[in-house]
Symmetry: C2
Subunit: 210 residues, 2 copies
Amino acid sequence: MSAIPMERPVLEDDEAAALTGLAARVRELAEATVLTGADAAEAAAVADEVAALTARLTAERRGAPPFVTPGERRMDRQIANPVTGPLNPFAPPIGLEVTSDGVVRGEFTLGAVYEGPPSYVHGGVSAMVLDQALGMAAAATGTPGMTATLETRYRRPTPLGVPLQVEAKASRVEGRKVYASGTISAPDGRVTVEATAMFIMPQRFVTSEY
Amino acid sequence: MSAIPMERPVLEDDEAAALTGLAARVRELAEATVLTGADAAEAAAVADEVAALTARLTAERRGAPPFVTPGERRMDRQIANPVTGPLNPFAPPIGLEVTSDGVVRGEFTLGAVYEGPPSYVHGGVSAMVLDQALGMAAAATGTPGMTATLETRYRRPTPLGVPLQVEAKASRVEGRKVYASGTISAPDGRVTVEATAMFIMPQRFVTSEY
């Protein structure tokens, strides 16, 4: 039903490094696009150059985003993930670490492309970050799954352009269901957004390497 | 507290058109980056070219994303919004229309940069789309606000690369609070994700033009 296949190309380390560098430059270009004061003629000229670079990249095109080499958890292999993936220009990207006691933590800063209310993070972007962090906390229990429910409560606006903290932890596992909760905090330590979620491991994952 | 000011530059029509075209090209470049099969040397060479284009755009840089000319609802003016904004390469972008009876509707297709589980839309991306649609439905009541709570339920996976429908409507207004609900549906008409949310109009917006 989906137009993108499940099978994944796997990158060699040097390819992954080069593509990660490329994604970082495209991420900067996206922010520059939102903030540029270039006039119409210059914007159009740059657009033509961008189209030419896209043509170079699509000369060899994969059917699906690549993974990095196996041997790690599957979530870590998805380097094009829209929240954590260094290969994805759309991702901030947020480096989420899992501690030995299963706590997921990351520090991140969101720029102009993630703006909702003027000068604040879009509420949906905060939900996206929390979905990823809570999902990783769920996976850290050994029962990874897909999001079944996500409840997000916004306690105060989340500022753009300053270091934010995200933290998440699973609270319990019931069969194929895992419950997790987490927060986003501002530099002053105050929680701006909190979330709870339930993840369900699909039957087809139970015997796979997910 | 936020690093991005509230004040907005306002674009002339020709500037908005040129920047919208540029954003569309950068959006294509981002997808090409995730799917390219270019080798490490070619990826690095393209990255250098991208950096040069970023330098051209940042020669004149604004402090905040621009709005389009006044006279419309404020939400429509935010053309760099991460869900609906044609000026934002990070946005799909989704054209959300508000009918005369307050229903928000849009059709959209999400590509590889929005992938969560292999071949499916990231759960957090679906939440982001729903937050925006429900927020616009809330605003259509005449009481726009910031997201206070968002509850998202995932009924089945949402496929990438096929036309999806999003629909939202406000259910009731209580003072400065507005309740809304909505869904994302697959091409077969089945609901993949449903959401309810509550939005609160900040006191400072009550007398403003928001």
